[in-house]
């Protein structure tokens, strides 16, 4: 079972490395969205510091949604998905592997790049570290929840827009606690409470989201 999980992860990573443009698209989308806000709002550093947590988190939300459409679509087209449905290993394990690979490719780069963008917003060091931790805990939850939407809309016309409609409302708790933790830390209240809620959401989505995703995949690929 663990073997299958590892095979899926390394296979998806290999495939992603072959087509690097997809990875870079997500990353640059994140960078551009974050950099656009000062242009729209104005360069006052006090204001920017205030809005930074919200801006970073909304940008991460949108960026993680951008790549969702491709999560199962390639496998669906070339028939690999049907093989996974028939495989002896539980489908949710395979789904978890695919989501992990997807997060490593699209989520982790955002986490690693966020300190650099944090400097653009003149955030102090502590806040940047908190921001990185919340993104590290939060973006996997986004990928897991998003996978449900991607599986439900598999192969539908206009699937990309539909996915955002289905998934964005479900992202709201992650957004609230993610941005809230950074804000609380920045204002000196301490973001531990928010962070543990974010962790609880991540745990819950690791347990529940792969089940819902595999149910949705079976329905969509039937």
């Amino acid at each position: 079972m663990f073997e299958a999980f590892r095979t899926i992860v390394s296979r998806d990573l290999l495939l992603a490395m072959r087509r690097r443009s997809d990875v870079l698209t997500t990353l640059f989308f994140f960078v551009i969205v974050v950099s656009l806000f000062p242009l729209g709002i104005g360069p006052e550093l006090d204001t920017l510091r205030l809005i930074a947590p919200g801006v970073f988190w909304v940008a991460a939300l949108l960026a993680s949604m951008l790549a969702l459409e491709k999560l199962f679509f390639v496998d669906y087209q070339d028939g690999a998905l049907e093989q996974m449905l028939l495989a002896p290993q539980p489908l949710s394990i395979l789904v978890l592997g695919k989501v992990l690979a997807h997060w490593l490719v699209t989520g982790l780069p955002l986490v690693l790049l966020s300190p650099l963008l944090g400097l653009q917003y003149d955030l102090p060091g502590d806040t940047i570290i908190t921001m990185m931790i919340t993104l590290l805990v939060g973006t996997p939850a986004l990928s897991l929840i998003g996978a449900i939407g991607a599986a439900l809309t598999l192969g539908l016309r206009g699937g990309g827009v539909l996915v955002s409609l289905l998934v964005l409302p479900l992202y709201i708790p992650v957004l609230i606690f993610g941005a809230g933790a950074v804000e609380a830390e920045a204002s000196g209240l301490g973001g531990a409470g928010h962070l543990s809620m974010l962790g609880a959401i991540l745990l819950l989505s690791i347990l529940a989201a792969p089940l819902a995703t595999s149910a949705a995949l079976r329905i969509s690929a039937e």
Binding site: I148, L152, T153, L156, R157, G158, G159, L162, L165, L166, L168, P169, L170, I172, P173, I176, F177, G180, A184, M197, I201, L204, A208, A212, A215, A216, I219, S220, E222
Partner: protein, 245 residues
């Protein structure tokens, strides 16, 4: 014991739904008449909010119904997923537009109540925000159903979405509530201040039952159309008296 499976067949449910819908239409009309009369002529003017508080008599019932309908939809969708009964999935589909309309009414009346009471059309109050998210969930379900051509897949995919949504609603509600209490600025409590008098509570309950009966009637009339659309080739449909040959 009544045979449940008999009623689970569209052919037997179709006439039953028609009868129940007719009865609940009359109940809805009657209760709406009584409820509206009570909300405008019997319920006294509120000493704090004046006549403006009368919006409560549609706002609260609509908000209750919007949440209740979502749970009922999730229940029917779950039944459809587990027991593979087509009828329960059709029921979930028939309830969705009514639920979305109830949510819209709750939002609209919330805004019209908020303006005189809080001085703004929209306040990021926890309840109002959750209601907005509920509206998005309804729209998502309706859009998903519309995008899938294969009815079987639409039923089952919709069911998964509803079940995921119903698990998420409490999480969303509590996170919004926490978010709201942290940002003190916008938090306004409605219920504190003026204690509800008995007559107001009675009026609100009558209006709630009226909205309930209305929702049942509209959803059942809609499910009859859905049954006909899906069973158009069945023999019993061609033998219905309402079909002109």
């Amino acid at each position: 014991m009544v045979n449940i499976y008999k009623f689970a067949s569209p052919a037997t449910f179709y006439p039953v739904a028609g009868k129940i819908a007719r009865v609940s239409t009359w109940i809805a009309v009657l209760l709406l008449a009584v409820g509206l009369y009570m909300s405008f002529f019997v319920a006294p003017t509120d000493y704090k909010q004046g006549e403006g508080y009368r919006i409560i008599f549609i706002h609260v019932p609509a908000a209750w119904m919007s949440m209740f309908i979502y749970v009922v939809m999730a229940f029917w969708a779950g039944v459809g997923l587990v027991f593979n009964t087509r009828l329960s999935s059709m029921m979930a589909q028939a309830l969705a537009p009514t639920g979305a309309i109830m949510t819209f009414i709750a939002l609209w009346t919330g805004a019209f109540w908020g303006k005189p009471m809080w001085g703004a059309w929209w306040v990021w109050d926890a309840r109002l925000t959750s209601e907005l998210i509920l509206f998005f969930l309804y729209i998502g379900f309706i859009a998903l159903q519309g995008a899938i051509d294969d009815t079987r897949r639409a039923d089952r995919a919709g069911a998964v979405l509803l079940l995921v949504g119903v698990v998420n609603i409490p999480i969303i509600y509590f996170s919004v509530k926490w978010w709201n209490t942290l940002h003190q600025g916008a938090s306004v409590s409605i219920k504190n201040g003026s204690a509800m008098s008995t007559i107001m509570l009675q009026t609100m309950l009558i209006m709630t039952f009226a909205f309930w009966a209305y929702s049942i009637a509209v959803a059942l009339y809609r499910v009859r159309s859905i049954i006909l659309e899906r069973e158009k080739d069945a023999r019993w449909v061609s033998e219905l008296p309402e079909i002109r040959r």
